[in-house]
Assembly symmetry: C2
Homo-oligomer: 180 residues x 2
């Protein structure tokens, strides 16, 4: 994993892909699958929603840290399976043969097999809606992997892989944050 | 536009596409382009982020209503252009040759040219983070249109069209909401 510019880290969340979120609770690693995320600011600041029925919620509230890992379409079966079982019963890194790597700013681990990893600190929790607000502190990318397409949940058990890319940079020029 | 089941309306936002949001402020229609959205609940409940620098923000706070319209990839140039100008200066329906249709539950209009439209009521506003929380009240679909691929912002002026669809319904079966 190579360092990735923090001011561009929002570009991994902006397209709305399915992501993985890792936590470390007293040295115990866990992973959850999440589709309910959004960007809040280019700084970057993110929001995601999860509830107390989710085992990771407790660790997030306790440690106020996590890593948002960005999986690619070749990992979709693993990612969906991670979301279908609970960290209360399973060591997900072991079960799904994923490799935890030490992060720089947080105790939660990076996931070696993912395309990118973003270390985050929880800066607010809106309990009423289950919304976590997070600031990114460091970002990492695996530039060498071949499969770079992310994938998106439809919500009915089906998913969509990234298709063709196209540009409207000229129209958007004045709206883009500096250096992006 | 045909009525679309409300319990499945979240499937238009879940993949994280670029959307349009219409408002009606004293009979004056406006449209904004938005990528910072997420699902909060299957009911469906949504969140999106926009700030007071956005002309639509005032109308949202005043009327507490909007329509989230779902454009397809063939509309991308129009959608990006809508985001590059302000409703303070331009009548966007006229400028971009879009057709407002009367909604059922809100004064904000549906957009005839979009694939789907979701009528929403603002139920909360978290000013500190610029987060609007919305409940959907009615949903509509144009089943006859040929192009149904949505598209996603990367955030650097580039976009990604929906690619191939695939299913993990068997793995997810127990996690799917009823009837979806």
């Amino acid at each position: 994993m190579k360092p990735f510019p923090l001011n561009k880290a929002f570009t991994f969340l902006e397209p709305g892909p399915v992501v993985l979120v890792t936590t470390a609770d007293g040295g115990r690693y866990n992973i959850m699958t999440l589709s309910w995320t959004m960007v809040l600011d280019f700084s970057p600041r993110f929001a995601f929603m999860t509830g107390p029925w989710n085992y990771s919620c407790k660790a997030l509230l306790k440690t106020k840290e996590c890593v948002i890992a960005i999986p690619t379409v070749d990992m979709s079966k693993t990612v969906v399976s991670i979301g279908a079982c609970s960290g209360a019963e399973v060591n997900k890194f072991e079960k799904f043969h994923l490799t935890p790597l030490e992060a720089k700013c947080v105790d939660a681990p990076l996931i070696r097999e993912c395309y990118a990893n973003i270390e985050c600190r929880v800066i607010d929790y809106i309990k009423k809606h289950g919304i976590f607000v997070l600031d990114a502190m460091a970002a990492w990318i695996d530039e060498k992997r071949k499969e770079k397409r992310l994938f998106h949940a439809i919500g009915d058990g089906r998913f969509i892989a990234d298709g063709e890319k196209f540009s409207h940079r000229k129209i958007m020029r004045e709206k883009l944050p500096e250096g992006v």
